[in-house]
Structures are given as C-alpha cells and as structure tokens.
C-alpha cells in the first residue's frame, strides 16, 4: 500500500489505471460514465482519506450502481485507498476486486453492490444513523444509474428522504440514458416532487459538477443528475 500513498495521481492518470484492469487505455463512454463525477467528488468534495477510513466523522460515499466498477477502483487507487498493483488481477479468483465491489474486500468501499436498488435505502439509513449519533457534520453520498432508478426500492427511499428532511443525504445520478422507459427531465422531476433539491449538469464538466455538488440545500436532501453520452 505504501507505493500508492507515496505517489500522487491526477485525473490524467486514470485511463492508465483503468487500463491495468481492462488491458487497454482507451475506454468507451460506458466504462467511463462515472469517471469524471467520481473524480471530482473524491478529489474536491468528500472529506475522506485512507487514514480516515474508520473515522466516524468521515463523509460516506456509497456506490450503488456496482456494475462496471473500473472507474471507481481507479479513483480509489489514485487516492491511495487500495494498492495500484491490485488492479491487474481485476475479476480473478485471488483478487479482492470483482466486477461488483465487496465492502469486506475493498478498502474504502462503504458498501458492496451489484444488485441494483440497494444503495439509496442504505444511504438513508446511514444518514439517519449519523444523525442519531449526533454526528451532524458528515455527508452521505450515493451514486445510482438512471436505469437503476427503475427499481422501486429507490422510490421508497426518495419519497421518504425528502419529507424527512435528510439534508446530509446526497444522490448522484449518472444519466447515460440507459433506461428503456424514461421521459426527458423525469429524473430530476421525481426527486423534486419528493422535496429534494435538484441540479442537472454535464457529467463531463468538472467545474459544473463541483458547483452542483457544493450548492447549498438547507433542510432538504440534494440530487445531482450528471448527464453523459447515451449508452
């Protein structure tokens, strides 16, 4: 692990890190749909480091859309949560890095995911739990995909969190138009109808992402819909 913590990685290193998993430094839009949104979040917003991975006061990031986790692993490696030399074994029997992450195996992963629709309810509970412990500072972020929002469990969480006023809760929706049945603007509208603060941005524009992530939303949970190239 020392090799990664002593080294500093930038956004420009991420394709190479992903290449260690995929065998190719060129990646299509599907593999990188979460890359920019994740990088800006980990680089500029989340108050969590490998040294603070067990700190009760850290910010939490929950990857709910566990499919296609190469970008996530690359960002975790770049930020020193896991050793870069783990990346090459991606998906193999001896590797802790599977095609869906397992929190028990991956340092820095707050949850395991793969089955869609679990992260947002877990994030709601985490936000409630931090509040119950008097930890009012940490923020909870959960990343979901636009098609993942087909799962009804998300709507139980969205409909509850707004009226419950869970202002420490943040959802990041990566919208690559992969849902088979959707209406334009439908994602933000559904969150807004439940009382959330909502901002839709270009998911490749780092400044726009940062502004959306840090926009104030007193008394309400916040959703950022990051639009990327259609799948």
């Amino acid at each position: 692990m020392t090799t990664t913590t002593e080294q500093t990685f930038t956004y420009a290193d991420l394709p190479r890190l992903m290449g260690l998993m995929t065998g190719d430094e060129k990646h299509g839009p599907a593999a990188t749909s979460t890359l920019d949104a994740l990088w800006v979040l980990y680089d500029r917003v989340l108050r969590v480091t490998p040294a603070r991975a067990d700190d009760p006061g850290r910010d939490r990031f929950l990857l709910s859309k566990g499919h296609g986790p190469m970008a996530y692993y690359a960002v975790l490696a770049a930020k020193g949560f896991l050793p870069v030399d783990w990346l090459e074994g991606f998906g193999s029997y001896a590797s802790p890095l599977g095609h869906h992450p397992d929190r028990v195996l991956v340092p820095g992963a707050e949850i395991g995911s793969g089955s869609l629709g679990h992260g947002l309810p877990l994030a709601v509970g985490t936000a409630l739990g931090l509040r119950a412990r008097g930890l009012t500072d940490p923020r909870v972020w959960v990343l979901v995909g636009d098609a993942e929002l087909d799962e009804g469990s998300n709507h139980e969480a969205i409909a509850y969190a707004g009226p419950a006023g869970l202002e420490r809760l943040h959802t990041l929706v990566i919208d690559n138009a992969s849902a088979s049945f959707a209406r334009p603007g439908g994602i933000a509208a559904r969150f807004e109808a439940a009382g959330w603060s909502a901002i839709t941005v270009d998911g490749r524009d780092h400044e726009a992402l940062y502004a959306a992530y840090t926009a104030p939303h007193p008394g309400r949970p916040h959703v950022v819909v990051a639009r990327v190239e259609p799948k």
Partner: protein
C-alpha cells in the same frame, strides 16, 4: 393475558434508554405503541411509512453508521417481501441487526393468506449466521428480545405470536429445556406449541424438550436427550412450516441411526378464514391430532439401539 407484542414497545423503550446504540425502525405497523418513545427518542425510533424494502435497507444503513437496529413489522412483510434486503443489506454487507416480527403463521386468520408467514424461519434458514428465537410466552419474549439486542453485532430474528403457552419457562436464549423425561422417544416442542405437545403426550413414555432458540439448533441438547432413550426417534413440533428443522435434527444425529418426524404448518394454502384454534386443528397441531401423529410414529416399533 397480554401478548408478546404488547411487551415489545415497553421493552424497547427501556433498551433505548439504556443503550445509545439501539434504534427501532418501523413501517407504520406497530407505531401507535411507540408514540411516547418517539417523543423521548425522536432520532432513534424511525417510521419509514409503508416501505418494507426501505425498512430493511435503512435498518442495515443504521448498522453501517454504528447503531444496533431493531426492525419490526408483520412477518410476511419483514422476511418475505424484502428478503433480498435481508440477504444483501445485512448478510452480504456484514452488518448486524435484529428483526422482530408479529403475525407468525396464522395469528390473524380472518386476514387470510396475505398476512400469514409459515415459511419465515425456513427462508432465513437459507442464510448464514441468523439466530432465531421463537418465544412461547410474553415473559419469554421479553427475555429473548433482550438477548437479541445484546447479542453484539449478530443477526437475530425474534418471532412474536399471539399464540402462547399458559406459563413461562426459564429460557436462556440458547439451549433446549427438558420438560419431561421418558425413554420411548424425544419430542421437541418449539415455542407456543408446548402446551398442546404436553397435553398430547400425557402418559406417554417420552422426553419432551422445549425449544425457544431454534437457530443455532441445540444439537448437543438433542443428542443428550436421545442418548437417554431406547431408540433415537425424534418428533419436531414447530409452529411454522413443517419440517423446517428436520435437517438440523438429522445433522445433530449424524452418527446415530435415527428417525425424525417433522410436524408443523402444512405447505398447502387452506383458503380459510376463521379462528386461530380452527387453523391449529386444520394443520393437525391440536393436542388430539398431535397425540395420534406422535403416538403413531413412536409407539408401534420401539427398537433397541444397535
């Protein structure tokens, strides 16, 4: 007599006072009993509305944040509807918590099959590491609820029912109790069926064990009881799906030639409403039916141990 469920909110109120890690999550059902407690512990008694996937998912999320969640609703909506949340959000995430159900197999027969969950324990049996408590009396429910909440970061299921025995037993949250000793076989009565089993076996030369913690299964207790008899014949009487613990009993007796009869709630849907006692009879779990079924299995062929 009050019911096990009548004890639930008062016990939780005390545990919430005693332990700042404890939190209760509800999905509308049962919230009236928590009205007072919600005022004293507004952040640790949480009602998420009629949303059972969120109920279990948010419960596990509370555990991720370091709390000890106690999640409650009817068994069918707690274990069956959000089963994948139990499997993944607690099991796969490696989180601990307590699930407390009401309604049992047919506590509200007028409500019909949608509110019956005879398969809850069998379903949990497909998962690793769950402790399952099946109290047979409100006092036992209180004891076992306390055990469940105090069990570190274990995953624990407590199955409350309106069916109960007349008197409580000194349950310890782990072992089977020996209620009666005989040599012609062992009858294991689980939770609320004890009174019927004792009436059914009156005058029979059998050992009766009383089980309120069925997972982990007290294999040692069963082996010891079987060792005192002339034949390794075991009858399990369970207030949920018949045969749920048959494999556990077989495993306990793997090195002894034995026979096991698993009695409990039948798999077939009755499509009947009515009263609890009518359903007990329909599933052959009243004292008269049990006497015939247990006697028919144990009595005709008492065999010596090899």
């Amino acid at each position: 007599m009050d019911t096990m469920r009548d004890r639930f909110a008062p016990v939780m109120a005390r545990l919430l006072d005693e332990d700042p890690r404890v939190a209760v999550v509800l999905a509308e059902i049962g919230k009236d009993a928590f009205k007072e407690v919600m005022r004293t512990h507004p952040d640790r008694v949480i009602n998420v509305g009629i949303r059972e996937q969120l109920l279990v998912g948010a419960g596990a999320g509370l555990a991720l944040a370091g709390l000890r969640p106690v999640v409650h609703t009817f068994a069918s909506f707690l274990v069956e509807r959000p089963f994948e949340q139990i499997k993944l959000d607690f099991g796969h995430q490696g989180m601990g918590g307590v699930l407390v159900s009401a309604g049992a197999s047919f506590d509200w027969p007028e409500g019909g099959f949608t509110h019956m969950a005879p398969g809850d324990v069998a379903l949990l049996d497909t998962l690793d590491g769950w402790t399952v408590h099946v109290p047979g009396h409100p006092d036992e429910a209180e004891t076992l609820l306390r055990h469940a909440v105090a069990a570190g970061d274990d995953t624990v299921y407590v199955r409350l029912s309106t069916q109960a025995n007349a008197a409580p037993m000194p349950v310890d949250g782990a072992r089977f109790l020996t209620v009666r000793e005989g040599r012609g076989g062992v009858v294991v009565a689980v939770g609320p069926v004890l009174d019927q089993v004792l009436a059914a076996t009156e005058g029979m030369d059998v050992t009766v064990l009383y089980a309120t913690t069925v997972r982990p299964f007290d294999a040692e207790g069963l082996r010891r009881a079987v060792g005192g008899g002339v034949a390794a014949d075991v009858v399990l009487v369970e207030p949920y799906l018949a045969g749920t613990s048959t494999a556990a009993a077989n495993d306990a007796l793997v090195d002894v030639p034995h026979r096991v009869l698993g009695l409990g709630v039948g798999r077939a849907e009755l499509r009947r409403y009515g009263r609890v006692d009518e359903h007990v009879r329909a599933h052959g779990l009243d004292a008269g039916s049990l006497r015939g079924r247990i006697g028919g299995f144990l009595l005709p062929q008492p065999r010596p141990l090899p």
